[in-house]
């Protein structure tokens, strides 16, 4: 069996992204006006978007399909993430138009690397065996190393090296874990449409010897794989890199890491544990419950002490990962209830909107001030009322106060936790939200209640504006936060059908 047209059709969203990335690099050679390159990039995203939507229509009716001899699966679950990632890319490119100008003359390479990494993330969401997981993870990570170092200042390069080393170590740990899983079960297959084919899930009972997760080898494999994924998820104790890299990397890259990269990591973690290891859900549920509790507590408590807004968003990303892990842990009734997965999917969507809105506002502000300390936000309520309002609204959503998507997302996550008899974890989550209110509101307070810093020379500190494209991106993200906060049912339904592919 060779490569068929059907295989190509099934990966058309990823393929379109790769083609787009190459086209941009080529266009860059012939086009004088670099702005145009970016416009092509944004417009070109329509192709993968249309492809993913088309595939959704196909698999929603006809059931999941597999490509490349079972290496990739195309189901509503994977497509949910592909759509999410394309959406994130579109907003991100719009919002970073000005920021990217700094990388002259390498703007096109920057955009192409983002697109290539995104293609890897999309493949990851649809990976159906361990090898595909590893390959797509590497495809996603390597461009990010270059992107993190794109700022070409000391901090940025340091962050790039840090990301390179830690991502390499985590990949090695992950691969080591996969080796154990393969050694124990004799297969790398996570899912198979043909019930006759062996998968990890069907092989596990045969090798079980009564230990946690079946056998010692599987246990070691799971622990190592969790550690490897923990890096991508910014899960404690593998979160160390997050604040450093967020601070050093160009802000759009940090936003990309916080939203798209994290979403895909959750996709594969959910896929691995709910399908391949679904039989051991009692064991890993408690493991993720504890990790969730530790992750959100560490993220929130350490965030309080931060004075740099990008670092703070890094710790906030850790804490938010903790909230989402609640949904991963909330596997009720032996995995028969999609509530936990559904709530994670919904939260990832809402989180993308609110976190991007926050990052975009920070990008717009720091583009002008060039200062990413929190105190530099003082007086922003007067210097740019609209940017301050957008940032404040996004932060309120990150706390989880209604009427925002952050509140709805937490409602669904905690709801799933309580329904899975993890009420203590829900209590942990709400108390953590209280802690987070302190530092998020601290930024709001700085923006509205502190006087703007003295500038050199007389006169008021200037007003801060943003390019039209950035306003558009912020408008869409903020509208998403508000609309989903008041009318969450539709995205919840979509997340429900996506979760249904994983938890029938």
């Amino acid at each position: 069996m060779g490569l068929t047209l059907r295989d190509l059709m099934l990966v058309s969203p990823e393929l379109a992204l790769v083609v787009l990335a190459l086209a941009i690099v080529l266009l860059d050679l012939v086009l004088e006006r670099k702005r145009f390159v970016l416009a092509v990039g944004v417009a070109g995203l329509g192709v993968p978007l249309a492809a993913a939507l088309g595939l959704w229509a196909v698999v929603a009716d006809g059931g999941a399909e597999m490509a490349f001899h079972g290496a990739l699966i195309v189901d509503t679950f994977a497509l949910y993430f592909k759509l999410l990632i394309v959406g994130i890319l579109g907003l991100l490119l719009l919002a970073s138009a000005d920021h990217i100008e700094r990388f002259r003359p390498h703007q096109a390479e920057f955009v192409a690397l983002v697109l290539l990494s995104a293609a890897g993330l999309m493949l990851l969401a649809g990976a159906a065996d361990l090898i595909a997981v590893f390959v797509s993870l590497e495809l996603a990570s390597l461009p990010v190393v270059a992107l993190v170092a794109f700022g070409k200042n000391d901090r940025s390069i340091e962050a790039g090296i840090k990301y390179l080393v830690l991502s390499g170590v985590s990949a090695a740990v992950l691969l080591y874990g996969f080796a154990f899983l393969y050694g124990a079960t004799g297969t790398v297959r996570l899912v198979a449409l043909d019930p006759a084919l062996p998968t990890i899930a069907t092989m596990l009972p045969a090798v079980a010897d009564g230990r946690p997760f079946g056998s010692t080898a599987v246990l070691v494999g799971v622990v190592l794989a969790t550690a490897g994924f923990g890096f991508k998820l910014s899960m404690v104790p593998f979160q160390m890199w997050t604040p450093d890299v967020y601070e050093g990397a160009p802000t759009p890259v940090a936003a990309f890491l916080a939203t798209a990269s994290k979403a895909a990591a959750f996709a594969i973690v959910l896929r691995l544990f709910y399908t391949a290891l679904g039989g051991a859900s009692a064991e890993w549920s408690i493991m993720f419950a504890v990790l969730a509790a530790v992750t959100m507590s560490v993220g929130n408590v350490v965030a309080i002490a931060q004075s740099n807004v990008k670092r703070l968003l890094g710790y906030s990303a850790i804490a938010q990962a903790g909230y989402m892990l609640i949904g991963v842990a909330a596997v009720a009734g032996g995995g028969g209830d999609p509530l936990g997965v559904q709530s994670v999917l919904f939260y990832l969507g809402g989180y993308a909107a609110m976190n991007l809105a926050a990052f975009f506002a920070v990008i717009a502000i720091t583009n002008v001030t060039g200062d990413d300390r929190i105190e530099a936000l003082a007086g922003m309520g007067r210097r740019s009322p609209l940017l301050a309002l957008i940032l404040a609204f996004a932060l309120i959503s990150l706390i989880g106060i209604p009427p925002t998507v952050g509140f709805m997302g937490k409602l669904f996550l905690f709801n799933a936790a309580v329904s899975a008899d993890l009420a203590w974890l829900a209590v942990f989550g709400v108390v953590n939200s209280v802690v987070s209110a302190y530092y998020y509101m601290g930024i709001v307070r700085t923006m509205y209640m502190r006087e703007p810093p003295e500038l050199d020379g007389p006169g008021e500190p200037g007003r801060i504006g943003a390019p039209v494209a950035a306003w558009l991106a912020m408008g869409v993200a903020t509208a998403g936060v508000a609309v989903l906060g008041v009318w969450p049912a539709w995205l919840l339904d979509v997340a429900g059908s996506a979760a249904g592919a994983l938890v029938p």
């Binding site: 905690f414 829900a426 209590v427 709400v430 209280v434 209110a437 049912a489 429900g496």
Partner: protein, 492 residues
């Protein structure tokens, strides 16, 4: 009708934002909005038929996957609360007439605050109730921290963290309640839950009850969760103090009656002795601390703590072990919520007027002010009479009912709390004497008396205070109707 009551202040806020280019315009818009709102709430009060039970119900699916509904409704318990919020909204806008900074934003947030509180009082779905409960946090935080005085940022943050922590417990309690209900009976509908008595039958009823209790205890506030209140009151602008004492604390009392008493009668009876103790502590501790205050506003704030103890006492009266439970204690608690809202609102208005003129709230600095501002002095005295429960003011019927109920259940608690009345008489009259009477002090000679706007703010609160003092049945009949189903849960 109920949607309109929530939407009018919100739309008004949008209007202020869009059109309030000048301070005068923003004020005028805000005033017209709260007047419309008062008319609406008055109409609701007039149209409500106490025999009708839950009325004006509006029901629509909101998040079908979770069974969350957009469910509004009122009964005899909530209708007076809605009216109270309508009245205080007018008082708040009138008492902010002299706000000078960022006038447009100020009225914007004030109206959002009013809308959120309205939502709390008319929501009949637990999740919707919680959404409105949380919605009030943000306007309060901004109002205190941007237009407050003194350590305003500290106080605003303290308010936020305390309230948010309390609501965290409520949030968990709501979810646990939902999932502990038997399959097929799961609902967030408070009316259904109050009717079928299933909530009290769930396994972790005590835990869920405790979660709600903590949230409402922070808000009411009940000792030892009260410490945010004096700070918030002291540093808040006048209008926000009025809203805070007038309706925000009442959200806590309303929650205790509606949810803790309405859904968990068995647990409330078990907790009654504890509540009786807390009530006594609240009343006496609050009163004693009032005595020590030299800041006029802080004094009124602590008197709130003391007076909210009476609400707790009324609630504890359901623990009566002897005789027939008459419900007079619960009714007194509900009435106390309303009357305290009016009276303390008035006190804060007057204190605000004094501060605005004298630029001090330090009691020892004042004296003889009645000579310069007789109208304000009279208002202060009348509000003080109300606060100490003088017959003829609204404070009297509420407190007498609480004591009647309290004596049948916990005579010792009622007896000790009654001492709080004596103390209240002491500190209120003493404060009036030290500020308003005594020899004329020349330093205060230039002080203006109340303007027409100030008199409006005073009048809108003074009239109901006296009307209810003379004819309390206006409210008690309505409260009776609202509390009757709750009382049935206690076998009363």
């Amino acid at each position: 009708m109920l949607t309109a009551i929530i939407v009018v202040p919100l739309a008004g806020a949008a209007l202020v934002l869009a059109l309030g280019r000048t301070a005068a315009l923003a004020r005028a818009i805000a005033l017209s909005v709260v007047l419309v709102e008062l008319a609406l709430t008055g109409a609701l009060f007039a149209a409500y038929d106490p025999a009708g039970g839950y009325s004006f119900i509006e029901r629509a699916d909101w998040i079908p996957a979770l069974g969350v509904q957009y469910l509004l409704g009122v009964d005899g318990l909530s209708v007076p609360m809605v009216l109270l919020n309508g009245i205080l909204g007018v008082a708040a806008v009138l008492s902010s007439w002299t706000v000078k900074e960022r006038v447009r934003e100020f009225f914007l947030w004030l109206l959002v605050l009013q809308a959120a509180v309205m939502g709390v009082f008319v929501s009949m779905d637990l999740i919707l109730f919680f959404v409105f409960w949380e919605l009030e946090l943000l306007p309060m935080f901004l109002l205190i921290s941007m237009w407050g005085t003194g350590r305003r940022e500290y106080s605003a943050m303290k308010f936020l963290v305390f309230t948010f922590l309390g609501s965290a417990f409520m949030f968990a309690a709501i979810l646990v309640l939902y999932f502990s209900l038997p399959d097929g009976e799961r609902t967030f509908d408070m009316m259904a839950l109050a009717g079928n008595g299933l909530a009290g039958a769930i396994a972790p009823a005590a835990l869920v009850f405790g979660g709600f209790l903590i949230a409402f205890a922070v808000k009411l506030p009940i000792f030892p969760l009260h410490t945010w209140l004096p700070d918030a009151h002291t540093d808040a602008p006048t209008a926000v103090s009025v809203m805070l004492a007038g309706v925000l604390l009442k959200m806590g009392g309303y929650g205790l009656l509606r949810i803790n008493a309405g859904l968990f009668p068995g647990e409330l009876v078990s907790a009654a002795p504890l509540l009786a103790v807390l009530a006594v502590v609240n009343v006496l501790y609050g009163a004693v601390v009032v005595m020590r205050q030299t800041d006029l506003k802080r004094m009124v704030a602590y008197s709130s703590v003391s007076h909210m103890g009476f609400v707790v006492l009324g609630l504890a009266s359901v623990g009566a072990t002897t005789g027939q439970l008459s419900g007079v204690g619960l009714n007194g608690a509900a009435l106390q919520l309303f009357t305290h809202g009016i009276i303390t609102g008035l006190l804060f208005v007057v204190v605000g007027l004094i501060y605005e003129r004298a630029h001090t709230r330090h009691i020892p600095d004042m004296g003889g002010m009645a000579k310069q501002m007789p109208v304000i002095a009279v208002a202060f005295l009348l509000a003080g009479f109300g606060a100490l429960g003088l017959p003829g003011t609204a404070g009297f019927p509420a407190e007498i009912m609480v004591f009647l109920g309290g004596f049948t259940a916990y005579a010792w608690a009622a007896a000790l709390s009654a001492f709080g009345i004596v103390l209240a008489a002491g500190y209120m009259l003493w404060a009036a004497q030290r500020t308003m009477f005594g020899p004329r002090i020349e330093r205060w000679d230039g002080l203006r008396d109340a303007t027409a706007v100030d008199m409006g703010a005073i009048g809108v609160l003074l009239v109901p205070m006296l009307v209810i003092g003379v004819y309390p049945r206006l409210l008690t009949d309505v409260f009776d109707a609202g509390l009757a189903p709750i009382l049935r849960g206690f076998g009363g």
